[in-house]
């Protein structure tokens, strides 16, 4: 029997690390259980000659392909967008592009402003101090003065424009459209013990240099020094409740596969928008027959991705290709709602720099641009190192039929029911994606790119897992309240992307972490009456 802890956090990724660090100054006994282990940068793909090939194997973004012991399977057959994630200390921040925009103020007021979905119970201004705190902790590179977003002061200068950024910037200027160097968590200077970026160019499947912020090298070392305990290779099966209907603790399997019980006074879920509803649904009991914290019936519903409409082409001069971080520029030209476009809400354009030779060869062969036989070599030399592309990160509106449930058959390596995804792209989103494709083609035409290719949606593009335990003031329409506490179970909190009421049109990690810090702050302010 493990000694009870004050706070038990499940998941050591983006939000779990942030909430652990913030709560550490309470001097409470804080324990985090993480199903994966610590990462070893010496084994990251960019350290070996097979650096590109591993993206199709043990460093695939899909847990179903990657199939590491830390991963759990996901039945996403009934979705045009497949789930991608990473399990380990650092979670999804180990395997992300480090593109770090924030949600906009209008994203919190979509019903009031645009008549769709629901307003959030909090606003942008509430999160500003936590955005800023998170920017310092993660180490954000960027450039102040962007007219496309509210004022912010990134602590490090932006990534260089490079060849790709320069060509894209000129194209955007020809069109008169907004662009700006992206905020990114790639360190452009030595920062808090992290070495600066040296352009390994293969950022997404983990950074061997340690220049990309992942919470295993940002929040966790500080949180552990402050006394937070982190137990790795511990997979939680269910949250148990006591006779008062409060969370009593969790049942988990330890590193040896032994079933353990861990009692806790407070349980915090930080398992992402698929893992969190999975765990709540797996915690059904006589008192909570439809899953824990699910009196609203909304646990697992309103799943939102950001469907990516990706468009790329080839130019006559070399681009940065794999010789620089993939993050480059963003554009907010089509972010805010314009009714004349035929859809509500909008999207961010995220510009890329290109890809390496293997990725180029595989993609071009699949698109029919790269022939077999005698013409192969000349064609490849025209394509390789000449790619220029961008993606529309489209806001996905919440729809209850898009959901996470438990698969009746599929189980993980511990026999725990796996999640099943049922998802389809909504009409508003589909119109937005078409708009994005058309305008991306205009940009590429202005950049004088040819051989235009489209991936819409990006198949393995389910990076952003949002909305499946939404926050709100009304217990009938939300799972947690405006500061992350379950309406039903008053010592149960959620701090991950499940909270999102709407998705915005940006990569969500910055906002997820700001929310986690905000909720931790609320908990600290209410310690005397946290369960009232």
């Amino acid at each position: 029997m493990n000694d009870p802890v004050d706070v038990l956090i499940i998941g050591a990724g983006a939000s779990g690390a942030a909430v652990a660090w913030s709560l550490a100054d309470t001097r409470m006994h804080i324990l985090c259980l993480e199903q994966g282990g610590w990462m070893n940068p010496a084994t990251y793909p960019s350290t070996g000659r097979d650096w590109e090939a591993r993206a199709f194997g043990d460093y695939s973004p899909s847990p179903n392909i990657r199939a590491r012991p830390e991963d759990y399977p996901i039945n996403d057959d009934n979705s045009p967008i497949k789930i991608v994630n990473f399990n380990g200390v650092g979670g999804g921040t180990v395997m992300y592009t480090a593109h770090f925009p924030r949600l906009h103020p209008s994203d919190f007021r979509v019903r009031s402003l645009d008549g769709v979905a629901d307003d959030w119970p909090i606003d942008y201004d509430t999160l500003v101090p936590f955005f800023e705190e998170n920017d310092r902790m993660m180490g954000v590179s960027g450039l102040a003065g962007d007219p496309g977003v509210p004022p912010r002061k990134p602590p490090m200068p932006p990534l260089p424009l490079g060849r790709s950024g320069t060509r894209l910037a000129k194209a955007m200027n020809r069109l008169g459209w907004h662009w700006w160097p992206s905020d990114t968590t790639v360190a452009t200077a030595d920062y808090e013990g992290r070495a600066r970026c040296i352009n390994l160019g293969h950022c997404t499947p983990a950074c061997a240099q340690g220049a990309k912020a992942s919470t295993d090298i940002t929040y966790w070392p500080v949180a552990q020094r402050a006394g937070v305990e982190l137990r790795t290779h511990c997979r939680v099966r269910e949250i148990t409740t006591d006779e008062q209907g409060m969370a009593a603790g969790v049942v988990y399997y330890d590193a040896d596969g032994i079933e353990q019980f861990q009692a806790a006074h407070v349980v915090v879920l930080a398992c992402n928008g698929v893992g969190t509803p999975r765990l709540l649904l797996n915690s059904a009991s006589g008192r909570f027959p439809n899953g824990l914290a699910n009196s609203s019936g909304l646990v697992g519903r309103n799943l939102m991705f950001h469907p990516y409409a990706q468009v790329y082409g080839y130019v006559d001069e070399p681009t940065d290709s794999n010789r620089a971080p993939p993050t480059c520029l963003w554009s907010k030209e089509f972010y805010e709602t314009d009714p004349s476009r035929g859809f509500a809400r909008g999207y961010t354009f995220q510009f890329g720099r290109g890809v390496g030779p293997v990725a180029e060869a595989v993609a071009s062969e699949a698109k029919g641009l790269l022939p077999w036989g005698a013409g192969h070599h000349a064609a490849f030399r025209r394509l390789n190192g000449h790619r220029l592309g961008l993606s529309a990160i489209c806001e996905d509106l919440p729809e209850e039929h898009n959901r996470v449930t438990l698969d009746p058959v599929l189980k993980d390596s511990h026999g725990i029911p796996a999640p099943r995804i049922d998802y389809r792209i909504g009409e508003n989103t589909a119109r937005m994606m078409e708009h994005g494709i058309a305008h991306a083609k205009e940009i590429l035409a202005a950049a004088e790119a040819t051989d235009i290719c489209v991936n819409s949606p990006i198949l393995y593009g389910g990076w952003h897992l949002l909305g499946t335990a939404r926050m709100g003031a009304d217990p009938a329409r939300s799972v947690v309240n405006e500061w992350g506490r379950s309406h039903d179970v008053k010592n149960l909190f959620i701090v991950d992307g499940s909270l999102f009421v709407t998705s915005g049109g940006v990569n969500p990690t910055s906002t997820i972490q700001a929310l986690a810090l905000y909720i931790a702050d609320q908990m600290k302010q209410r310690l005397a009456n946290l369960f009232d």
Binding site: Y44, S46, T47, G48, R49, D50, W51, E52, A53, F56, H104, P105, S106, F108, S112, D123, Y124, L143, P147, G148, V149, P150, L159, P160, L161, G162, R163, G165, T166, A169, K170, M172, N173, H178, W179, C197, I198, N199, L200, G201, A208, Q209, R323, K332, E333, Y335, P357, V358, A361, V362, E365, A366, W372, G373, A374, H376, H377, R381, N384, G385
Partner: protein
């Protein structure tokens, strides 16, 4: 069964020929074909989790060819290869990928592309800063985001 022994001699023979059909040697670019022994050895040694689908693709190829691919005349061999490519599917895509990923990491091929045959870490690359005056017209714009 290890990955190295997961292909039969017939599989290996067809793999060599189909790879060479996909990417033939080129004197113009001074590169080997994907049927080069070193590249073939890399493919076979690193099949790993792809072995099942690669075997499936090679079985499909054998059915289309009706005999070892090497025994066919060049025109027929190319026709069979194109038929396999046109049929597509996960197995053929995997076969194609494993050939490409090993070919485009071979030292000779990488050098021919003007690249260094090395992993990205620890040397990294140099990225040009670019001309930040390109931002001037954007800086001049009024705020675009909606206050809420």
């Amino acid at each position: 069964m290890s990955a190295d022994s997961s292909l039969t001699p017939a599989h290996r023979g067809d793999l060599r020929v189909i790879a060479g059909t996909m990417i033939p040697a080129s004197a113009e670019f001074d590169v080997p074909g994907a049927d080069d022994p070193a590249i073939q050895a890399d493919i076979v040694a690193t099949l790993g989790r792809d072995a099942v689908l690669v075997r499936e693709a090679l079985d499909q190829l054998a059915r289309l060819a009706g005999s070892p691919l090497a025994d066919l005349d060049p025109a027929r061999r190319e026709a069979v290869a194109m038929e396999l490519r046109a049929k597509g599917g996960p197995a053929v895509a995997t076969l194609t990928r494993v050939v490409l990923q090993c070919y485009y990491r071979d030292d000779r091929v990488v050098r021919s592309l003007g690249l260094e045959p090395r992993p990205p870490y620890p040397k990294g690359h140099v990225l040009e800063d670019g001309d930040w005056s390109l931002l001037d017209p954007v800086r001049a714009r009024p705020p675009m985001w909606r206050r809420a």
